[in-house]
Symmetry: C2
Subunit: 201 residues, 2 copies
Protein backbone atom coordinates (compact mmCIF):
# COMPACT_ATOMS: atom_id res chain seq x y z
CA UNK A 1 0.00 0.00 0.00
CA UNK A 2 1.42 3.35 -1.06
CA UNK A 3 1.26 5.81 1.81
CA UNK A 4 -0.80 8.97 1.36
CA UNK A 5 0.69 12.43 1.18
CA UNK A 6 0.25 15.01 3.93
CA UNK A 7 0.06 18.46 2.35
CA UNK A 8 -0.11 21.71 4.32
CA UNK A 9 -1.32 25.01 2.93
CA UNK A 10 -0.24 27.95 5.03
CA UNK A 11 0.61 31.62 4.79
CA UNK A 12 -0.45 34.99 6.18
CA UNK A 13 -4.03 36.00 6.84
CA UNK A 14 -5.43 37.52 3.63
CA UNK A 15 -3.27 35.42 1.28
CA UNK A 16 -6.32 33.47 0.15
CA UNK A 17 -5.28 30.09 1.53
CA UNK A 18 -8.86 29.21 2.51
CA UNK A 19 -10.17 29.60 -1.06
CA UNK A 20 -7.27 27.59 -2.47
CA UNK A 21 -7.80 24.88 0.15
CA UNK A 22 -11.50 24.46 -0.69
CA UNK A 23 -10.86 24.37 -4.45
CA UNK A 24 -8.08 21.79 -4.11
CA UNK A 25 -10.25 19.58 -1.86
CA UNK A 26 -13.11 19.84 -4.38
CA UNK A 27 -10.98 18.99 -7.41
CA UNK A 28 -8.71 16.30 -6.00
CA UNK A 29 -10.98 14.57 -3.50
CA UNK A 30 -8.18 14.74 -0.92
CA UNK A 31 -9.20 14.09 2.66
CA UNK A 32 -9.53 17.11 4.86
CA UNK A 33 -8.59 16.86 8.49
CA UNK A 34 -11.33 17.36 11.06
CA UNK A 35 -10.19 19.57 13.94
CA UNK A 36 -10.86 19.11 17.62
CA UNK A 37 -12.30 22.18 19.36
CA UNK A 38 -13.47 23.26 22.77
CA UNK A 39 -15.95 25.77 21.40
CA UNK A 40 -19.67 25.09 21.48
CA UNK A 41 -21.22 23.46 18.39
CA UNK A 42 -23.23 25.88 16.25
CA UNK A 43 -26.69 24.84 15.01
CA UNK A 44 -26.32 22.13 12.37
CA UNK A 45 -22.69 21.27 13.16
CA UNK A 46 -22.10 17.56 13.58
CA UNK A 47 -19.52 16.04 15.92
CA UNK A 48 -16.90 14.15 13.90
CA UNK A 49 -17.86 15.89 10.67
CA UNK A 50 -17.41 19.63 11.22
CA UNK A 51 -15.33 19.26 14.37
CA UNK A 52 -14.70 16.84 17.16
CA UNK A 53 -16.31 18.77 20.03
CA UNK A 54 -14.53 18.21 23.33
CA UNK A 55 -14.55 19.80 26.78
CA UNK A 56 -11.55 21.83 27.86
CA UNK A 57 -10.61 19.07 30.28
CA UNK A 58 -10.69 16.44 27.53
CA UNK A 59 -8.68 18.78 25.29
CA UNK A 60 -5.99 19.29 27.93
CA UNK A 61 -5.73 15.53 28.37
CA UNK A 62 -5.22 15.14 24.61
CA UNK A 63 -2.45 17.76 24.70
CA UNK A 64 -0.80 15.97 27.61
CA UNK A 65 -1.01 12.65 25.76
CA UNK A 66 0.68 14.17 22.68
CA UNK A 67 -2.35 13.51 20.51
CA UNK A 68 -2.10 16.70 18.41
CA UNK A 69 -0.18 17.51 15.26
CA UNK A 70 -0.77 21.17 16.08
CA UNK A 71 -2.92 23.11 18.51
CA UNK A 72 -3.76 26.78 18.94
CA UNK A 73 -5.89 29.00 21.17
CA UNK A 74 -8.19 31.49 19.46
CA UNK A 75 -10.30 33.77 21.70
CA UNK A 76 -10.47 31.45 24.71
CA UNK A 77 -11.22 28.39 22.58
CA UNK A 78 -8.80 25.69 21.52
CA UNK A 79 -8.52 24.26 18.03
CA UNK A 80 -6.23 21.37 17.17
CA UNK A 81 -5.48 18.68 14.61
CA UNK A 82 -5.60 15.19 16.09
CA UNK A 83 -2.89 12.83 14.87
CA UNK A 84 -4.75 9.52 14.91
CA UNK A 85 -7.33 10.05 12.12
CA UNK A 86 -4.72 11.78 9.93
CA UNK A 87 -2.19 8.96 10.29
CA UNK A 88 -4.92 6.40 9.67
CA UNK A 89 -5.84 8.11 6.38
CA UNK A 90 -2.18 8.30 5.33
CA UNK A 91 -1.61 4.63 6.16
CA UNK A 92 -4.65 3.73 4.08
CA UNK A 93 -3.16 5.56 1.10
CA UNK A 94 -5.32 8.67 1.28
CA UNK A 95 -3.78 12.09 0.74
CA UNK A 96 -4.68 14.64 3.40
CA UNK A 97 -4.80 18.42 2.98
CA UNK A 98 -4.51 20.97 5.79
CA UNK A 99 -5.00 24.69 5.97
CA UNK A 100 -3.22 26.05 9.03
CA UNK A 101 -1.37 29.17 10.12
CA UNK A 102 2.41 29.38 10.04
CA UNK A 103 2.79 28.21 13.66
CA UNK A 104 0.61 25.17 12.91
CA UNK A 105 2.65 24.39 9.80
CA UNK A 106 5.84 24.45 11.84
CA UNK A 107 4.41 22.13 14.46
CA UNK A 108 3.19 19.66 11.81
CA UNK A 109 6.59 19.60 10.06
CA UNK A 110 8.34 18.91 13.37
CA UNK A 111 6.13 15.92 14.08
CA UNK A 112 5.83 14.69 10.51
CA UNK A 113 8.90 15.73 8.48
CA UNK A 114 7.48 14.17 5.29
CA UNK A 115 4.71 16.81 5.27
CA UNK A 116 4.78 18.90 2.09
CA UNK A 117 4.36 22.51 3.12
CA UNK A 118 3.24 25.26 0.78
CA UNK A 119 3.40 28.93 1.66
CA UNK A 120 0.66 30.97 -0.01
CA UNK A 121 1.66 34.58 -0.54
CA UNK A 122 -0.16 37.51 -2.15
CA UNK A 123 1.79 38.99 -5.07
CA UNK A 124 2.83 41.97 -2.90
CA UNK A 125 2.34 43.49 0.53
CA UNK A 126 0.38 46.33 -1.10
CA UNK A 127 -2.03 43.74 -2.47
CA UNK A 128 -2.24 42.04 0.93
CA UNK A 129 -3.06 45.40 2.52
CA UNK A 130 -5.78 46.05 -0.10
CA UNK A 131 -7.32 42.64 0.51
CA UNK A 132 -7.34 43.07 4.28
CA UNK A 133 -8.84 46.56 3.93
CA UNK A 134 -11.39 45.15 1.47
CA UNK A 135 -12.72 42.86 4.18
CA UNK A 136 -13.79 45.99 6.06
CA UNK A 137 -13.47 44.09 9.33
CA UNK A 138 -10.01 45.19 10.39
CA UNK A 139 -9.19 48.19 12.56
CA UNK A 140 -6.15 50.19 11.46
CA UNK A 141 -4.04 48.77 14.28
CA UNK A 142 -5.13 45.18 13.66
CA UNK A 143 -4.31 45.71 9.98
CA UNK A 144 -0.80 46.93 10.88
CA UNK A 145 -0.34 43.89 13.12
CA UNK A 146 -1.45 41.53 10.35
CA UNK A 147 0.87 43.14 7.80
CA UNK A 148 3.84 43.03 10.11
CA UNK A 149 3.20 39.38 11.01
CA UNK A 150 2.83 38.56 7.30
CA UNK A 151 6.30 40.05 6.74
CA UNK A 152 7.61 38.12 9.71
CA UNK A 153 6.02 34.87 8.46
CA UNK A 154 7.44 35.30 4.94
CA UNK A 155 10.83 35.75 6.61
CA UNK A 156 10.50 32.13 7.76
CA UNK A 157 10.24 30.88 4.18
CA UNK A 158 13.01 28.35 4.69
CA UNK A 159 10.67 26.24 6.80
CA UNK A 160 8.50 25.69 3.74
CA UNK A 161 9.02 23.51 0.69
CA UNK A 162 7.17 25.63 -1.85
CA UNK A 163 5.82 29.14 -2.29
CA UNK A 164 2.78 29.95 -4.44
CA UNK A 165 2.05 33.59 -5.23
CA UNK A 166 -1.71 33.96 -5.25
CA UNK A 167 -2.18 36.56 -7.94
CA UNK A 168 -4.93 34.65 -9.72
CA UNK A 169 -6.93 32.06 -7.76
CA UNK A 170 -7.27 29.61 -10.66
CA UNK A 171 -3.53 29.65 -11.36
CA UNK A 172 -2.69 29.29 -7.69
CA UNK A 173 -4.99 26.26 -7.37
CA UNK A 174 -3.38 24.68 -10.44
CA UNK A 175 0.07 25.24 -8.99
CA UNK A 176 -0.88 23.58 -5.71
CA UNK A 177 -2.33 20.60 -7.61
CA UNK A 178 0.87 20.42 -9.74
CA UNK A 179 2.93 20.33 -6.53
CA UNK A 180 0.83 17.49 -5.17
CA UNK A 181 1.09 15.51 -8.43
CA UNK A 182 4.85 16.12 -8.62
CA UNK A 183 5.36 14.97 -5.02
CA UNK A 184 3.65 11.69 -5.91
CA UNK A 185 6.37 11.19 -8.54
CA UNK A 186 9.26 11.70 -6.09
CA UNK A 187 11.54 8.69 -5.88
CA UNK A 188 11.00 8.34 -2.11
CA UNK A 189 7.23 8.12 -2.63
CA UNK A 190 7.60 5.26 -5.13
CA UNK A 191 9.95 2.93 -3.31
CA UNK A 192 7.44 0.10 -2.99
CA UNK A 193 6.78 0.14 -6.76
CA UNK A 194 10.51 0.39 -7.56
CA UNK A 195 11.40 -2.42 -5.18
CA UNK A 196 8.64 -4.60 -6.54
CA UNK A 197 9.91 -4.02 -10.11
CA UNK A 198 13.43 -4.84 -8.96
CA UNK A 199 12.12 -8.01 -7.37
CA UNK A 200 12.91 -6.83 -3.83
CA UNK A 201 10.45 -6.94 -0.98
CA UNK B 1 16.16 37.75 -13.57
CA UNK B 2 14.85 34.38 -12.44
CA UNK B 3 17.12 31.60 -13.63
CA UNK B 4 15.69 28.95 -15.93
CA UNK B 5 15.22 25.34 -14.93
CA UNK B 6 17.32 22.51 -16.38
CA UNK B 7 15.14 19.41 -16.65
CA UNK B 8 16.44 16.00 -17.74
CA UNK B 9 14.26 13.18 -19.01
CA UNK B 10 16.00 9.83 -18.90
CA UNK B 11 15.32 6.13 -18.54
CA UNK B 12 15.82 2.85 -20.36
CA UNK B 13 15.49 2.42 -24.09
CA UNK B 14 11.83 1.62 -24.84
CA UNK B 15 10.44 3.61 -21.90
CA UNK B 16 9.02 6.20 -24.28
CA UNK B 17 11.17 9.12 -23.16
CA UNK B 18 11.47 10.47 -26.73
CA UNK B 19 7.70 10.81 -27.17
CA UNK B 20 7.33 12.45 -23.77
CA UNK B 21 10.21 14.82 -24.54
CA UNK B 22 8.65 16.00 -27.81
CA UNK B 23 5.20 16.50 -26.26
CA UNK B 24 6.59 18.48 -23.34
CA UNK B 25 8.66 20.71 -25.67
CA UNK B 26 5.57 21.32 -27.82
CA UNK B 27 3.28 22.19 -24.93
CA UNK B 28 5.60 24.21 -22.72
CA UNK B 29 7.81 25.95 -25.27
CA UNK B 30 10.86 24.93 -23.24
CA UNK B 31 14.20 25.25 -25.01
CA UNK B 32 15.70 22.06 -26.28
CA UNK B 33 19.43 21.62 -26.24
CA UNK B 34 21.22 21.26 -29.57
CA UNK B 35 23.83 18.49 -29.50
CA UNK B 36 27.30 18.55 -30.96
CA UNK B 37 28.11 15.58 -33.19
CA UNK B 38 30.94 14.24 -35.32
CA UNK B 39 28.61 12.41 -37.68
CA UNK B 40 28.00 13.72 -41.18
CA UNK B 41 24.97 16.00 -41.69
CA UNK B 42 22.06 14.29 -43.42
CA UNK B 43 20.29 16.08 -46.27
CA UNK B 44 18.32 19.04 -44.92
CA UNK B 45 20.03 19.14 -41.52
CA UNK B 46 21.22 22.61 -40.55
CA UNK B 47 24.31 23.31 -38.44
CA UNK B 48 23.29 24.98 -35.16
CA UNK B 49 19.65 23.90 -35.54
CA UNK B 50 19.62 20.11 -35.76
CA UNK B 51 23.17 19.65 -34.48
CA UNK B 52 26.42 21.48 -34.23
CA UNK B 53 28.49 19.50 -36.75
CA UNK B 54 32.14 19.26 -35.76
CA UNK B 55 35.16 17.23 -36.86
CA UNK B 56 36.48 14.58 -34.52
CA UNK B 57 39.50 16.76 -33.82
CA UNK B 58 37.31 19.72 -32.86
CA UNK B 59 35.20 17.41 -30.73
CA UNK B 60 38.23 16.07 -28.85
CA UNK B 61 39.37 19.63 -28.19
CA UNK B 62 35.95 20.44 -26.75
CA UNK B 63 36.18 17.39 -24.47
CA UNK B 64 39.65 18.43 -23.34
CA UNK B 65 38.42 21.96 -22.63
CA UNK B 66 35.57 20.63 -20.46
CA UNK B 67 32.94 22.11 -22.74
CA UNK B 68 30.42 19.25 -22.43
CA UNK B 69 27.67 18.57 -19.93
CA UNK B 70 27.68 14.99 -21.19
CA UNK B 71 29.20 13.13 -24.12
CA UNK B 72 28.79 9.64 -25.54
CA UNK B 73 30.04 7.54 -28.42
CA UNK B 74 27.46 5.77 -30.56
CA UNK B 75 28.72 3.59 -33.45
CA UNK B 76 32.00 5.46 -34.03
CA UNK B 77 30.33 8.87 -33.81
CA UNK B 78 30.31 11.21 -30.85
CA UNK B 79 27.30 13.06 -29.52
CA UNK B 80 27.50 15.59 -26.73
CA UNK B 81 25.69 18.44 -25.01
CA UNK B 82 27.69 21.66 -25.01
CA UNK B 83 27.54 23.67 -21.78
CA UNK B 84 27.75 27.22 -23.11
CA UNK B 85 24.40 27.54 -24.98
CA UNK B 86 22.57 25.71 -22.17
CA UNK B 87 23.97 27.96 -19.45
CA UNK B 88 23.22 31.02 -21.57
CA UNK B 89 19.57 29.97 -21.88
CA UNK B 90 19.33 29.28 -18.13
CA UNK B 91 20.89 32.65 -17.29
CA UNK B 92 18.38 34.35 -19.57
CA UNK B 93 15.53 32.71 -17.66
CA UNK B 94 14.66 30.04 -20.21
CA UNK B 95 13.90 26.51 -19.07
CA UNK B 96 15.81 23.81 -20.94
CA UNK B 97 14.69 20.22 -21.46
CA UNK B 98 17.01 17.28 -22.22
CA UNK B 99 16.43 13.72 -23.24
CA UNK B 100 19.51 11.65 -22.49
CA UNK B 101 20.42 8.13 -21.40
CA UNK B 102 21.14 7.28 -17.78
CA UNK B 103 24.90 7.86 -18.14
CA UNK B 104 24.24 11.30 -19.62
CA UNK B 105 21.83 12.14 -16.80
CA UNK B 106 24.49 11.25 -14.26
CA UNK B 107 27.10 13.39 -15.95
CA UNK B 108 24.71 16.38 -16.13
CA UNK B 109 23.80 16.09 -12.43
CA UNK B 110 27.48 16.00 -11.47
CA UNK B 111 28.21 19.20 -13.35
CA UNK B 112 24.92 20.94 -12.60
CA UNK B 113 23.47 19.69 -9.30
CA UNK B 114 20.36 21.88 -9.67
CA UNK B 115 19.28 19.80 -12.68
CA UNK B 116 15.87 18.20 -12.11
CA UNK B 117 16.14 14.60 -13.27
CA UNK B 118 13.15 12.45 -14.14
CA UNK B 119 13.40 8.71 -14.71
CA UNK B 120 10.83 7.43 -17.22
CA UNK B 121 9.92 3.81 -16.63
CA UNK B 122 7.47 1.50 -18.38
CA UNK B 123 4.81 0.12 -16.01
CA UNK B 124 6.60 -3.27 -15.94
CA UNK B 125 9.52 -5.14 -17.46
CA UNK B 126 7.01 -7.34 -19.33
CA UNK B 127 5.63 -4.20 -20.95
CA UNK B 128 9.15 -2.98 -21.77
CA UNK B 129 9.90 -6.34 -23.40
CA UNK B 130 6.67 -6.11 -25.44
CA UNK B 131 7.53 -2.62 -26.61
CA UNK B 132 11.06 -3.55 -27.62
CA UNK B 133 9.76 -6.65 -29.45
CA UNK B 134 7.09 -4.49 -31.11
CA UNK B 135 9.81 -2.42 -32.74
CA UNK B 136 10.82 -5.53 -34.64
CA UNK B 137 14.37 -4.21 -34.89
CA UNK B 138 15.95 -6.01 -31.98
CA UNK B 139 17.70 -9.37 -32.10
CA UNK B 140 16.96 -11.68 -29.19
CA UNK B 141 20.39 -11.07 -27.67
CA UNK B 142 20.18 -7.29 -28.07
CA UNK B 143 16.72 -7.45 -26.45
CA UNK B 144 18.16 -9.39 -23.48
CA UNK B 145 20.94 -6.81 -23.18
CA UNK B 146 18.45 -3.94 -23.24
CA UNK B 147 16.23 -5.55 -20.61
CA UNK B 148 19.12 -6.27 -18.30
CA UNK B 149 20.47 -2.74 -18.65
CA UNK B 150 16.98 -1.35 -17.97
CA UNK B 151 16.94 -3.34 -14.71
CA UNK B 152 20.43 -2.09 -13.93
CA UNK B 153 19.45 1.52 -14.69
CA UNK B 154 16.32 1.35 -12.54
CA UNK B 155 18.58 0.08 -9.74
CA UNK B 156 20.26 3.50 -9.83
CA UNK B 157 16.97 5.25 -9.04
CA UNK B 158 18.50 7.17 -6.15
CA UNK B 159 20.40 9.35 -8.62
CA UNK B 160 17.08 10.69 -9.88
CA UNK B 161 14.64 13.15 -8.33
CA UNK B 162 11.42 11.76 -9.78
CA UNK B 163 10.10 8.63 -11.46
CA UNK B 164 7.23 8.68 -13.95
CA UNK B 165 5.66 5.36 -14.97
CA UNK B 166 4.76 5.66 -18.61
CA UNK B 167 1.61 3.57 -18.77
CA UNK B 168 -0.35 6.17 -20.71
CA UNK B 169 1.54 8.79 -22.76
CA UNK B 170 -0.90 11.64 -22.02
CA UNK B 171 -0.76 11.02 -18.27
CA UNK B 172 3.02 10.73 -18.32
CA UNK B 173 3.34 14.03 -20.19
CA UNK B 174 1.03 15.72 -17.68
CA UNK B 175 3.09 14.36 -14.79
CA UNK B 176 6.32 15.69 -16.29
CA UNK B 177 4.70 19.11 -16.80
CA UNK B 178 3.39 19.03 -13.20
CA UNK B 179 6.93 18.30 -11.98
CA UNK B 180 8.29 21.27 -13.94
CA UNK B 181 5.55 23.59 -12.62
CA UNK B 182 6.09 22.37 -9.06
CA UNK B 183 9.86 22.90 -9.28
CA UNK B 184 9.20 26.52 -10.25
CA UNK B 185 7.36 26.90 -6.92
CA UNK B 186 10.24 25.56 -4.83
CA UNK B 187 11.48 28.06 -2.28
CA UNK B 188 15.05 27.98 -3.66
CA UNK B 189 13.77 28.92 -7.12
CA UNK B 190 11.95 31.98 -5.75
CA UNK B 191 14.62 33.59 -3.62
CA UNK B 192 14.86 36.75 -5.73
CA UNK B 193 11.09 37.36 -5.44
CA UNK B 194 11.09 36.56 -1.70
CA UNK B 195 14.08 38.82 -1.03
CA UNK B 196 12.54 41.61 -3.04
CA UNK B 197 9.29 41.33 -1.04
CA UNK B 198 11.31 41.35 2.17
CA UNK B 199 13.12 44.46 0.98
CA UNK B 200 16.46 42.64 0.68
CA UNK B 201 18.67 42.79 -2.34
Amino acid sequence: MKKGLLVVISGPSGAGKGSIYRQVIDRTGMKRSVSVTTRQPRPGEVDGVDYYFRTEEQYQQMIAAGEFLETAAVYRNYYGTPKAPVFENLDNGYDVLFEVDVHGARSIKKQYPDAVEIFIMPPSFEELENRLRGRGTESESSLRTRLSSAMNELGKYERFDYIVFNDDLEEAVEKVIAIINAEKCKIKNNMSMINSLLGKK
